[in-house]
């Protein structure tokens, strides 16, 4: 490995050789072991920035967040599993029930002034009774 390539790698990957591309780690170590001064200088430069990068601290994980995430893994209950299609089905059901109730109320409350006994035949209608009796009489005779 040339000192120039070593400097390029240090510039990209930092001072820790274990973070360098696997294929080039052994050659880089050999250059260092040979006492190459420019290679050591490149590592020194990279180490300063590594230290600065390491100084970036993150807040500790909030236990409440961890708990919330663990709870989100619970297997779905029966109702939640079918909630996606039960909900629209419920809307449709309520709609149908509403229409049916409307028809029932309308049919009970609307007066029928235009309808007379002639228009609405009755089972007690005399004429029909005659026919029924006549048919029955014929059947009985046979």
């Amino acid at each position: 490995m040339t000192p120039e390539r070593f400097a390029q790698l240090a510039e990209a990957y930092g001072a820790n050789l274990q973070r360098w591309p696997h294929a080039e780690q052994a050659q880089a170590k050999a250059l260092l072991d040979a006492g190459d001064l420019s290679a050591r200088d490149a590592l020194h430069q990279a180490r300063w920035l590594d230290g600065m990068l390491d100084s970036h601290q993150l807040a500790a994980v909030d236990p409440a967040l961890a708990r919330q995430i663990r709870l989100s893994a619970k297997p779905p209950s029966f109702w939640s599993r079918y909630a996606s299609w039960l909900s629209p089905a419920g809307f449709v059901g309520v709609g149908i029930a509403g229409v049916a109730a409307g028809i029932l109320v309308a049919s009970l409350s609307v007066p029928l002034p235009m309808l007379s006994a002639e228009v609405l035949p009755s089972v007690f209608d005399q004429g029909d009774a005659d026919i029924v009796f006549t048919v029955n009489a014929e059947e009985t005779e046979q």
Partner: protein, 193 residues
Amino acid sequence: MKDIDPDVELLARIGNNEPAAVNEMVSRKLPRLLALASRILGDADEARDVAQESFLRIWRQAANWRSGEARFDTWLHRVALNLCHDRLRRRKERPLNDDDALNDVADSAPAPDEQLEAAARSEQMEAALASLPERQREAIVLQYYQELSNIDAAALMNISVEALESLLSRARRNLRSYLADTPGLARPGRGRP
């Protein structure tokens, strides 16, 4: 040669609804996801949202995970990165006040000198990271902080290893330049370590 994915067994246990496996997955991946999203987005609240959403995808995927394709950790990074990208895109559409993102750290609780100094350096580093162009920041977060191999980091960013190397070099140059202009920071001297 492909080495064994250390997360596969855990995923299978999660698929079997084992609570202990769920706990272990949260312990193993939550800090990593929060670190990734916090550094990419520079916003703790948004990072929490990304972590939560990523875990929902894990729970959905666990029972169906097929080993032999992508490593689980790489897949998880892709999921979280995509969620981060969505948020960054939305920010560009509706720019936020610059002060919003960087004020999370501010906490005036009294602390010993060393802690104050460490907190100040951390803030400087956070500002330096935030100053990087998006792709450079992503490269340094994936390679340095998340400790992904150059091959995995390049694959996640859909670029070649050479392009990743170039992004990393530019990122580190820019960071050095930013930090060198920050008062009170010792610069690296040239010469012997």
